[in-house]
């Protein structure tokens, strides 16, 4: 079946590049987004872009283990995590409020700076790597840095967790583009980690809100041992 698909997809490199560019675009739109609900949908779209690019790599290079990691991505990042997040925000009823610490245009400008840094840093790495998608390492790195920036600039807990998950997307993409992915065991472990992390975060959200009556992380700085 892989052979058949490989013949159907002659322009694999282009599709991967397009997906990489889309991931970067989605990273930026998550950075600019004010509403949690849209943020989750953007995270879902980023998961789809990641899934498509890994699938195309798997098919074009005939690596069956990448096919499995594509399936894990689909199940986890496109179906499971957005569903859990949707349920969480419904139960927390925090659909709309997102506060950013910096205003959005400034964040975007810092983001452009990060992308330039990431592209410059990645150029020597991509010359060492021999994969078909070595030029996308810069984009993967930029996605990771943008998610970092989002974690820094958001004050509420839910967007921070979404940023953390998006960072994991970027790392996964970087691993795929640099070395055709990690061994199966490692990937399964990471997938499980993210899943468990999500469950723990879910419990945390309720605890934080019970304690401080809000999901604002800044409240935690004031907490002292009595």
């Amino acid at each position: 079946m892989i052979d058949f698909l490989a013949r159907v997809l002659p322009e694999a490199g282009q599709i991967i590049n397009l997906c990489a560019a889309l991931m970067l675009l989605l990273g930026f739109s998550m950075l600019a987004q004010r509403r949690i609900l849209t943020l989750i949908n953007l995270f879902l779209l980023q998961g789809i872009a990641l899934f498509v690019s890994i699938l195309v790599v798997a098919v074009s290079t005939k690596q069956s283990h990448l096919l499995w990691s594509a399936m894990i991505t689909l199940a986890l990042k496109v179906v499971a995590l957005p569903w859990v997040l949707h349920r969480l925000i419904r139960r927390l009823s925090v659909k709309w409020d997102v506060e950013t610490l910096l205003n959005i245009p400034t964040t975007m400008l810092v983001g452009i700076g990060l992308v330039i840094v990431a592209f410059n840093v990645a150029t020597p790495i991509s010359e060492l790597s021999g994969t078909v998608l070595r030029s996308t390492i810069g984009i993967a790195l930029a996605c990771v840095l943008l998610s970092f920036l989002m974690m820094i600039t958001r004050s509420k807990a839910v967007p921070q967790v979404i940023a953390f998950l998006a960072m994991e997307n970027g790392l996964f993409f970087a691993a795929t583009s640099a070395t055709y992915g990690m061994p199966m065991v490692v990937e399964l472990g990471i997938a499980l980690d993210v899943m468990v992390g999500m469950v723990i975060f879910g419990v945390f959200f309720f605890q934080i809100r019970q304690q401080f009556d809000s999901l604002d992380i800044r409240q935690m700085e004031k907490a002292r041992e009595e």
Partner: protein
């Protein structure tokens, strides 16, 4: 000078000037359908222009000659801009004279005169509109230039004809940079042609006006020229978007006549689809607050810069 190029040039210009109100009519019609209103006829803008041309011009007492000259300057700038965008063929007589950067310059010349005329009479709404228009303009211009720079990086030239030829003649490849810059271009075009997320072209509430506030004092044939120039600007932006991002079907130099006819049909279909999409965008989105506009256009600029960066990183080949 090449005679066919000259003839095609004249023909393109006439076509743009004559068809522009029909495109506006088509957008209005689509929007009316989508909003469950009974649609005005496709040629309603022509009736409006005809009516305005036959009306008397009323001038304010303190209107200077600039106020009277501005409609003619705005119209001719827009018409010249429409002439250098390749719509049917890239073989245009004007194309060596003006490139993409000159096109941006022409648009901003028209904008400056419009703003000056808005301030000239000294009414509150006129200067309010002029200031808002300049705010939008100075944010939209760099984004538009960045879009052009990305396209010129691909084709190694800033001449619109060369850009379109390179993009139309290549074998089918997906340029991620063009995807980014097309989104940026769409956002800039919405802002520059005063469409809904930024400005409402059909508004009657002066406080929310941008473009309309500047032309409140105009009447008669002056108003007709300005309205015509607005539809021509919309038409030009449509053609520009099509030429840069969907150039399939635009014929090259020395093409036979039936090729040009085919290009005309393709263009009409693309314009109809484009007008429908514009009406869809206008129906689905609400007008932003004026202070959200810098954010909107900042995003457009960001996308255009990203397009350039992606072009430099991902697409090193020609």
């Amino acid at each position: 000078m090449n005679l066919t190029a000259f003839l095609i040039q004249i023909f393109t210009l006439l076509l743009a000037v004559l068809l522009a109100p029909a495109l506006t009519g088509w957008v209005n019609q689509c929007r009316a359908w989508m909003q469950n209103r009974s649609a005005p006829s496709l040629i309603q803008p022509y009736y409006t222009l005809h009516k305005l041309f036959h009306k008397e011009v009323l001038l304010a007492h303190n209107a200077s000659s600039l106020f009277r000259a501005a409609p003619y300057i705005v119209f001719s700038c827009t018409a010249l801009a429409a002439a250098i965008v390749p719509t049917l063929s890239t073989d245009l007589a004007f194309s060596p004279a003006a490139d993409a950067i000159a096109l941006v310059g022409l648009f901003s010349l028209a904008r400056v005169f419009m703003a000056l005329a808005g301030m000239d009479v000294g009414t509150a709404f006129g200067s309010l509109g002029a200031r808002r228009e300049m705010l939008i303009g100075f944010l939209a211009e760099p984004a538009l230039l960045m879009v052009f720079f990305t396209a010129s990086l691909i084709s190694q030239s800033t001449s619109l004809s060369t850009i379109v030829e390179t993009l139309a003649q290549r074998e089918f490849t997906i340029y991620p940079s063009l995807v980014f810059s097309s989104i940026a271009f769409a956002m800039v075009a919405l802002a520059e042609t005063a469409r809904i997320p930024v400005d409402n072209p059909t508004t009657h509430l002066e406080l929310t006006m941008i473009h309309e506030a500047m032309i409140l004092e105009y009447s008669g044939r002056h108003l007709a020229l300005i309205e015509w120039a607005s539809s021509l600007k919309l038409f030009t932006y449509f053609c520009l978007g099509i030429a840069l991002f969907f150039p399939l079907g635009i014929s090259e130099a020395d093409a036979p006549l039936q090729m040009i006819a085919r290009a005309g049909v393709a263009m009409a279909v693309k314009l109809a689809v484009g007008g429908f999409v514009l009406a869809l965008i206008e129906t689905l989105s609400a007008k932003m607050r004026i202070f959200r506009a810098p954010e909107f256009l900042g995003t457009a600029f960001l996308l255009a810069v990203l397009a350039m960066l992606v072009r430099l990183l991902l697409e090193t080949g020609p």
